[in-house]
């Protein structure tokens, strides 16, 4: 009755139970917290070029380049159930063709051990800010939003939008010089 196998079996079962309970407690203790932070964002030096693009239907698209400054303090967010943040900057706009356009122009993985105060100056886009057509010129309502994905050790993967957003009018003429 109390042979080795049954002892090993109950030990394993109990271990799994405890681990499941601790994981659930970890999830429940952090799921109702507020994960919103505010940021300070500036976007400068916007230039638009009309380029050939193979992924657009009419093979010609508007490409925007810019530089931005970003200041955020994420320190508050890191509790025991936050493994990593995935921070990304989104440009959102409507165009004549599309009701919704969202382009991620920059992102960064922020791990626990890294610096959690971001103070970036003059950052250029990490991905091409390429429209699906030629609608960026003279666009007066492109919204830049900072969002982040809170990745837990176990539990709910939360997408959060930082409180501030920025609307920037776009240039009215194309830049024809080469990209610097």
């Amino acid at each position: 009755m109390h042979n080795l196998l049954s002892r090993a079996n109950s030990l394993l079962a109990f271990t799994l139970w405890v681990m499941a309970a601790v994981t659930a407690a970890c999830f429940l203790s952090t799921v109702f917290l507020d994960y919103t932070v505010s940021n300070h964002l500036e976007v400068n030096d916007i230039k638009i070029r009309n380029v050939r693009d193979y992924a657009t239907d009419d093979k010609q698209a508007d490409l925007a380049t810019l530089a931005f400054n970003l200041k955020v303090d994420f320190s508050r967010l890191f509790n025991w159930n936050v493994k990593q943040l995935f921070v990304y900057l989104v440009a959102e706009y409507k165009s004549a063709e599309n009701a919704v356009n969202q382009v991620v122009i920059w992102d960064r993985i922020v791990e626990r051990s890294e610096r959690v105060v971001m103070d970036e100056i003059g950052v250029k886009t990490k991905y091409y800010f390429l429209d699906d057509g030629a609608h960026l010129l003279k666009h007066d309502n492109v919204t830049f939003v900072l969002r982040y994905n809170v990745i837990p050790n176990a539990g709910y993967l939360r997408l959060v939008q930082s409180t501030n957003q920025l609307v920037v009018p776009f240039p009215t003429t194309y830049t024809t010089t080469r990209r610097s």
């Binding site: 991620v104 992102d107 994905n149 539990g155 993967l157």
Partner: protein
């Protein structure tokens, strides 16, 4: 009994989440350090809720058996069923156009089979080990079978 309740739970989860496969096991390191090999992901597939950048989607590509778990980095939406979606793995240097079917430049909403909402670490390791060492799988099955047959009720 055990088999039928497992099936019930699986089918019940399919109804609640709207996804054909409500859980997936991460098989590659392309989303590290968010997801590691062996992590179990819980998915939903609510068609009312549009796909937006930042969502971690699970999508199927023609010619590939195994669905891919990557993050959306670009959305151009004409209407809810005419959407261009581009994805990228957090740990990859380039976007996923190289992984799509030849000539395919964008995903559409119908390619997306689920969106990651929850994460359970290590749980999927069992299935990975079973797949990597099929002999172990048969050994475990044989052992369990013998155990059921030979076990004496106390």
């Amino acid at each position: 009994m055990v088999v039928s309740s497992a099936l019930m739970i699986w089918k019940g989860m399919m109804v609640v989440t709207g996804s054909d496969s409500p859980v997936v096991v991460v098989l590659s390191g392309s989303m590290e350090p968010a997801f590691y090999r062996g992590d179990l992901l819980l998915l939903t597939n609510d068609l009312e809720d549009p796909v937006r950048v930042g969502d971690i989607t699970v999508f199927k590509v023609e010619g590939r058996e195994i669905p891919i778990v990557h993050r959306v980095i670009k959305v151009h939406e004409k209407s809810s069923d005419d959407t261009k979606i581009l994805t990228k793995g957090d740990n990859n240097q380039v976007d996923d156009r190289g992984l799509y079917a030849p000539g395919q430049l964008w995903l559409s909403r119908s390619d997306v089979v689920g969106r990651t909402k929850g994460l359970l670490p290590y749980v999927g390791m069992v299935t990975i080990i079973m797949n990597d060492y099929p002999k172990l799988k048969y050994a475990v099955l044989a052992f369990l079978g013998l155990f059921v047959l030979l076990h004496k009720e106390n």
